[in-house]
Symmetry: C2
């Protein structure tokens, strides 16, 4: 069975050597000294590796079952959910007014990696609840907040997001679910929603559905969409649970992975709903929490890659096959461990250098969200809104790729379910699809975020990279191994942005045909930027005479690998982008 | 449910416009005129799309079951196998002396794509039989051939290949299965083999296992391995089936995919075996059929990509979401079909341009095998032995990638098993692993094939590319759109080979650290070369005034896409290769 051990050491390095959170002027960060964060991370690591990871394969094998309208979660999930709840993990970064611990998002994201890496399907029950919590927190009336939030922070009640319908996924304007206003100010919700993660289950007392629907007579398309709170059990005035609402599970989907999460077809048959926020402003309410939600999905890609990598590494150290080409390394054994072979190392280092870069990008993005939410820092908000589609798209694409590479290290054993490597691949696959398929992330990046505020945010990013390079170019090894390749890759990214600017005006397809490549390229540059920051911190620690030199030396070697072996991808993506719209658009749809 | 329609039109184009098989001097090719090949392809297409494709999901859902030692195949498999047998498909390119039809391998490969694309798990039962047939045909005594081949050609009896043991996969020298010589000239085989595809089932009267084992007292390592015929039922002198041999199924593996194929743990408990070929020359016997077998696995990658692509294309034409950014295209509908969106087209064209290039590479490789086997053409044999690791590694890597892209086009529906896209991804995944994991293909390419005969074969390949470019540079559009990018990419590949030559002598890790990139790069150049050939044929057909201009125009547009959007990958791979061994080798195994 696969195992998982959260990388608390690397997380501490990022929080305190790289981001130096405790020195930052963000409200709440002043408490984040190393002993405090370490206490949290160690506890989170414990529940992740000891309680949740052992249930990961159980969830995959058993899946969820729909019995007489009730969804049964896999063996052990309910007890584990109680432990997660009792440990206070569900409200870590929630508002203390409703029972949360009020910790910054940067800590929530660090803990989130551990939880989702240990058991992605399980962690979605509270992840979705957190999303619904955020929406109500941002848009709810005081009464709504008082009614729902305390129980959602504690996950006594869980939440869901209901967007998709059979004929309406990316294009929400096509949605048919309707919300008819009633005399008492409530609405009757009628329609069918599909792909509703954590749609129903036996681990909480109530499920608070957030449902997008159209109020008859409203504007066409997405402008006529409103958001509603539709509880499974109506809540009485005294807060106790009242009658069963007219919402039911139509079916459970059989999926490629995340079997432990109940993906439901939800039927609303005149269910009572409460308007959340304003009429027809449902899309805006959804957008509020999009950054957090998409960051969370990026973390899923990172998490699955991490768990898969750890198992591949163990296997590569244990499995004896063949001899090192440069001479026997384990003469006392019948063969050398396969980690001696260059191509196995290449596969492991592709994974490791991605994972550590991605982890840094996640925490940096979380810090930007904290700055935006806790300080109203508009620059941070602009920058993170630019980065989020990259984090979501790139980290989930590479997350799958990385899990596939980890599986490959196992040879035939990787294909057999018993070893658990297949599950990492199958589970991570969904992260490329939901919360906006990755093609939509690329479209969001190139079609909206690049040009936002006259390109202010992307220019800001380039300036930031440039300044960092300039400030640190006296550090010789940092310059040659990190800053020079970063400069080169960043130039490629700027050339691509320039190409879009010059040609996208004439024909937007010149930009859109290259959007996916741009997202991937941006991901590489962002990770290269993170590696340059991490290398700087590592050099500083070594110069200061750290007693953990091995950690920092390994960090530098891993970073050099990324700069030399991953970053050159920008050249390929730039060439693809600069070929423009024609190769992509010239064939008629019938001609394919 | 997904559907599959074999692309007989493209196959005819490759056979007759590009390869012009009927004009070639290869024995047996003289019969391959277009009406003859079309009759075969149409019949193969029929059984593939009408009989086998509808069973593909059945096989995935039901899987195989082990009941009281007997393996039960999924519903309908037995009847379908009878139809395949009755149609003569199992012996298409087998020796007429044993009941085969004696057709060239180029036709076998074309038909093979249709069969494996329609139902990969099903087609493995006869695929493995074909491999065992080839080994007996090449190395068996006359008596062995008479005893086994006729029933294997007809698939009354099926075959298996038994190599892997729990602790011995890539490194077969570690194998423990032993073969003790008996006084009557037979051997008693004892040991356990794992991952035995088609190891047992209920579709044939007998299973002929080919088993690698060590005769006690022989040389250590792979030099002490011999190959044995171990039938499930011993065969009496009159050809009738005799007593049950001491071989049994220990378990069926639960796998990520190819559920319709029985992957068995096989236990040999003093089973009677007959030496095939010479003592201790078992590895050599296995190598004989390796080119064919690995080509076959490459075809699986191509096949799954093709079936997945066809479904993604249908979906992209049907699914209505959003509007084209350049203006509404389907004003009568609530939204445009998603094929109007540039990024959906990019995904489809990545798939299409890979598939058609890969198909050409497969048929060319098959022609080289025909030349080698039917004419004893050593140059062809050398060239194909160079190309085979590329075909196996590149086509299966890109096969998975392509299936993942096809799944992505479906959004959330792609993740739900009901739509069948997950199965393409899960099934195609194994092709990267078995028959030599792709890292081993890269090692074979760089560690053995490149330097073989002083690099004669790779030089031959480069010369062939160079001559083709030179011969055709008067064709203006061919030159600018195809030959120039091919020249560029081919130069990158030569630079990589040069880097290996100059640095691999000092330290072989300089070559091995770049082996995987070299394999991928070679794949791109080979497909670029194929596209140049296809473009030449398309221009010729258009010049000659074909009545199917649309087909040829589409071919050219697809090829231009490949040259502009895929071939630039060579630059990235070259940069990775030229970074040498250090980034890959510097970390100690404990430091990862």
């Amino acid at each position: 069975m696969p195992s998982y051990t959260p990388d608390t050491r690397d997380m501490a390095f990022l929080l305190h050597d790289v981001l130096k959170v405790e020195t930052k002027d963000v409200p709440g960060y002043e408490d984040l000294d190393p002993s405090f964060t370490s206490a949290i991370l160690e506890e989170a690591a414990k529940i992740s590796s000891e309680v949740l990871a052992p249930l990961n394969r159980v969830g995959d094998v058993e899946g969820c079952k729909l019995e007489n309208g009730v969804v049964r979660t896999p063996t052990g999930f309910k007890e584990a959910f109680d432990q997660v709840r009792d440990g206070g993990w569900t409200g870590l970064d929630c508002d203390p007014e409703y029972g949360g611990q009020g910790l910054p998002h940067v800590i929530g994201s660090a803990v989130g990696e551990f939880l989702t890496a240990s058991n992605m399907a399980f962690n979605m029950y509270q992840g979705l609840t957190h999303g619904a919590y955020s929406a109500i927190h941002a848009h709810g009336s005081d009464e709504q907040k008082q009614t729902y939030l305390p129980n959602m922070v504690s996950c006594q009640w869980t939440g869901t997001m209901n967007l998709t319908e059979p004929h309406s996924g990316t294009d929400l304007g096509l949605m048919r679910t309707k919300a008819e206003p009633q005399d008492d100010g409530t609405y009757k919700i009628t329609g069918q929603k599909i792909f509703i993660s954590a749609g129903d289950h036996d681990m909480s007392e109530n499920v608070i559905h957030l449902v997008l629907a159209k109020i008859p007579g409203g504007p066409d398309g997405v402008k006529g969409i409103s958001l509603f709170i539709v509880p499974k059990f109506l809540v009485n005035e005294d807060g106790s649970l009242g009658e069963r609402n007219a919402v039911s599970v139509g079916a459970l989907e059989e999926k490629m992975g995340i079997h432990g999460n109940a993906t439901c077809v939800m039927n609303y048959d005149g269910a009572t709903g409460y308007l959340l926020g304003q009429e027809h402003k449902g899309m805006r309410a959804m957008f509020t929490m999009m950054n957090e939600a998409r960051l969370g999905v990026g973390v899923q890609g990172l998490g699955q890659a991490t768990a898969a990598y750890q198992n591949a590494l163990d296997y590569a150290r244990d499995r004896l096959q063949g001899r090192a080409v440069t001479g026997v390394e384990a003469p006392d054994k019948p063969a050398d461990p396969i980690i001696v072979h260059p191509d196995i190392r290449r596969a492991l280092l592709d994974q490791k250098s991605f994972i550590e870069g991605a982890r840094a990008l996640v925490l940096w993005s979380a810090e930007l969200i904290d700055r935006s939410q806790r300080q109203g820092d508009e620059e941070a908000e602009g920058l993170v809104s630019l980065l989020i589609p990259v984090v979501k798209g790139f980290l989930t694409d590479k997350g799958l790729e990385s899990a596939v590479q980890a599986q490959q290290v196992f040879g035939g054993h990787g294909y057999v379910e018993e070893w658990g490597m297949s599950q990492f691949v199958r589970d991570s696959r969904i992260a490329m699809i939901y919360e906006g398929a990755n093609g939509i992330q690329a479209l969001d990046l190139v079609g909206r975020k690049l040009a936002q505020d006259n390109g202010k945010h992307v220019m800001g990013f380039f300036d930031m990279v440039k300044s960092f390079i300039k400030e640190n170019e006296d550090n010789g090894p940092l310059k040659s191994d990190f800053l020079d390749p970063l400069k080169d890759a960043s130039k490629d990214l700027q050339s691509a942005a320039m190409f879009f600017m010059q040609n996208g005006m004439k024909n937007p397809n010149h930009a859109l045909a290259g959007s996916y490549d741009f997202m991937t390229m941006f991901g590489h540059v962002a990770l290269g930027f993170m590696w340059a920051h991490m290398a700087k911190a590592a050099y500083a620690a070594l110069d200061a005479g750290t007693d953990d030199a091995a950690f920092y030396e390994t960090k530098l070697a891993t970073g050099r690998y990324y700069m030399k072996r991953q970053l050159p991808a920008t050249k390929m993506h730039l060439a693809r982008i600069e070929s423009g719209a024609e190769p992509v658009m010239e064939l008629a749809a019938e001609a394919f």
